[in-house]
């Protein structure tokens, strides 16, 4: 994955709670066999009307979304289905980070594999961020992964948690599969020790 060290970018706000992955990428778009063009499916049923026209009132169709790389989302973002297509659609659209008070476990796991940073903030900061975007629609935020800070335009910094492994993955662009493959000997040893060498194990 591509490293992410610091990012200063525009933020768009989607104040819906419990955004499930069926909304992020509706199931009818899961029939693809590659990852191309996933940005077209992002929030498709909220972005487009029945005739396929862009709904002007949906935030991703507004000029402010052009070039935005940070999504400010409601509580419990990414719940439901395990479809990684949801993360592919967000990154294909250009997002590098999503901010919420909480993320569903599988979504957060999938995000990490694709270099999409999931930033958890407390409720008060979450509210402040929504207020900020309401007040300054083209507000930019700065993310510093090493420092684990999110800095608002007024200079106020909000700390966010990030486990040390994920932090290293973002800073160095570590590929998890590479990490696992480097431990093949240990895996073979484990299989020998636990008699996992046969189907009957």
């Amino acid at each position: 994955m591509n490293p992410l060290k610091t990012l200063t970018a525009r933020v768009v706000a989607l104040p819906n709670e419990n955004v499930d992955t069926d909304q992020i990428t509706p199931a009818r778009f899961l029939k693809v066999t590659d990852k191309a063009g996933m940005d077209n499916y992002l929030f498709a049923d909220w972005r487009y009307d029945a005739a396929g026209n862009a709904r002007p009132d949906f935030v991703l169709n507004q000029p402010r979304a052009q070039g935005a790389q940070i999504l400010l989302a409601g509580d419990n973002f990414g719940c439901g289905s395990s479809r990684e297509h949801a993360v592919w659609a967000l990154t294909a659209f250009g997002f590098r980070a999503v901010i919420s008070t909480s993320f569903a476990d599988i979504f957060r796991n999938n995000a990490l594999k694709n270099g999409l940073l999931t930033i958890v903030v407390d409720k008060a900061s979450h509210r402040d961020l929504f207020d900020l975007v309401a007040e300054i629609p083209d507000a930019q935020l700065t993310i510093d992964v090493a420092a684990q800070t999110l800095t608002l335009p007024d200079g106020r910094a909000v700390n966010f948690p990030l486990d040390p492994f994920a932090r290293t993955c973002f800073l160095e662009g570590v590929d998890e599969l590479g990490y696992l493959l480097a431990r093949r000997d240990a895996i073979s040893q484990y299989e020998r020790n636990t008699q996992h060498g046969t189907r009957e194990a």
Binding site: P15, N16, E17, N18, D20, D22, Q23, P26, A27, R28, L30, K31, V32, T33, D34, K35, D45, A50, G74, D75, N76, C79, G80, S81, S82, R83, E84, V87, S102, A104, D105, I106, N109, N110, K113, N114, D163, P164, F165, E176, L177, Y179, L180, L181, R183, R184, A186, I187, Y190, E191, T194, H196, T198, R199, E200, A201
Partner: protein, 471 residues
């Protein structure tokens, strides 16, 4: 010795490497694969020049995009046909056993794992599908992963995972007549919320859980993901062992005896502690139905829809308001009597034989409402054969319901089975998200009994009001 949980035993047995400040390298005993979330994983695997490390621990099937009408073959949808072609090619090239379109063992991945005896106590099981939690009913640690981790497991038989927290859900008492496992788990999700289990593995315990059949336990664990939990588990017992004995992939002979001895050591010790404990009284439960756009928005079937004005939390108020607008429902409204356009009986939640028996018991010698289309979709070819041996298909057809081919069908609406915009569906599936059953479609989740009773009435109905023979 310190008392240990079922989860802790399975977890610690499967840690290959645990480096400081890193997730564990966790070994996977059984990897289930389906056509929708695997193509990109196989492509990336090939692009890296890697092979499937353990094809003998990897099993695949086709369930999401498969038509449930025989007239749907050969598959006309070019994208769906291509997914079938790719999983066939990938499995052949990698030596992975595929229960393909013509295989009598094909079915929804979470239905066939148990019925073939692939799912066993003490195992770690993953699949690129959130409802992998289902398999935890056998006392396995089973959870859904994304396509990247499908690739990781194909390549290394391992994945990186932080140790989750544990939650015990104790359900004591006895489920009243007409109240099912589906109602129990919908009541739990309504209580703890759809994020209530985030970061945790839930172990279900208590007299009401012990009394459940294996299939009912599968329903409970299946819906665990709808509470946001990583996995749901139930300690293996005689119900588990009796279910497994003799199944195709279950151990046989001396291997069975050895496995059984091991499985009996797995249950949580008395005195083991959990990070959190939640209690429910089964005796107090009613049939449940959802009214909103996530599985936590549920209530007893005779209840009234809550009023957003009475909710103090701003985000919950907003969520409920938005859900009621999508569902075109009013605060304070009762759902009993609300017209139903479609009834769906099936899915990895409620598409097993006992579910079909329950629905058939309600529909027997009766006829569904002319305003309601009723789809009965068995969870697998085996479920379909068993149901037909019992004559359930004749009951469904005589009642005016459609008896269809196995697959995920209207639970995810990828295969051509879909709601029309604005339609209301009473569904035995697991998700009532906006558009889940088709763009603009509206879902009420309930049990097979509730779905069948509502099909008869053409409106949301309480199955307890119908005279039903034992099933």
């Amino acid at each position: 010795m310190t008392p240990r949980t079922l989860f802790d035993r399975i977890w610690s047995r499967h840690v290959v490497v645990q480096e400081p400040q890193s997730p564990a390298v966790l070994y996977v005993d059984l990897h289930l694969v389906h056509e929708v979330t695997s193509p990109q994983a196989f492509q990336d695997l090939c692009a890296r020049g890697l092979k499937v490390r353990r094809p003998d621990k990897t099993f695949a099937t086709i369930d999401h995009i498969v038509p449930t009408d025989r007239r749907g073959f050969p598959i006309a949808d070019a994208q769906a046909a291509e997914q079938v072609r790719q999983i066939e090619t990938n499995c052949r090239a990698c030596g992975v056993q595929l229960f393909g379109l013509d295989d009598p063992r094909r079915g929804i991945v979470h239905v066939i794992g148990p019925e073939l005896g692939l799912t066993q106590p003490g195992m770690t099981i993953v699949c690129g599908d959130s409802h992998t939690a289902t398999h935890g009913a056998f006392g396995a640690l089973a959870f859904g992963v994304g396509t990247s981790q499908v690739e990781h497991v194909l390549a290394t038989q391992c994945l990186l995972q932080y140790k989750p927290k544990t939650m015990q859900v104790r359900v004591d008492g006895t489920l009243p007549r007409g109240v099912t496992a589906k109602d129990l788990v919908l009541a739990l999700i309504a209580q703890i919320g759809i994020g209530g289990g985030t970061g945790s593995v839930i172990e279900y315990a208590g007299a009401a859980i012990r009394a459940l059949s294996m299939e009912a336990r599968l329903t409970i664990c299946n819906m665990t993901i709808e509470a946001g939990a990583r996995a749901g588990m139930i300690a293996p017992d005689d119900t588990t062992f009796e279910y497994l004995a003799g199944r195709e992939f279950a151990p046989k002979g001396a291997a069975w005896d050895a496995a059984l001895a091991h499985w009996k050591t797995l249950p949580t010790d008395d005195g083991a502690t959990f990070d959190e404990t939640v209690s429910l009284d089964a005796s107090a439960l009613e049939p449940m139905i959802t009214f909103g756009t996530n599985p936590g928005m549920g209530m007893p079937i005779a209840g009234r829809i809550p009023d957003p004005a009475t909710i103090s939390d701003a985000s919950q108020k907003h969520a409920l308001t938005k859900a009621l607008a999508y569902m075109n429902l009013q605060p304070g409204q009762a759902l009993l009597g609300h017209p139903i356009d479609v009834a769906f009986i099936g899915s990895c939640t409620n598409g097993r034989l006992s579910d079909l028996r329950a629905a058939a018991a309600v529909l027997k010698s009766r006829h569904v409402s002319p305003r309601t289309r009723v789809l009965v979709v068995p969870g697998s070819q085996q479920v379909k054969r068993q149901a037909e041996q019992e004559g359930l298909h004749e009951i469904f057809r005589a009642a005016g319901a459609e008896w269809r081919e196995p697959g995920c069908s209207l639970c995810i609406a990828m295969n051509g089975d879909s709601l029309e915009p604005g339609q209301y569906c009473i569904s035995t599936s697991n998700r009532n998200f906006e558009g889940r059953q088709g763009k603009g479609g509206r879902t009420f989740l309930g049990s097979p009994l509730t779905a069948a009773a509502s099909a008869l009435a053409g409106a949301v109905a309480d199955a307890r009001e119908f005279s039903i023979a034992d099933f």
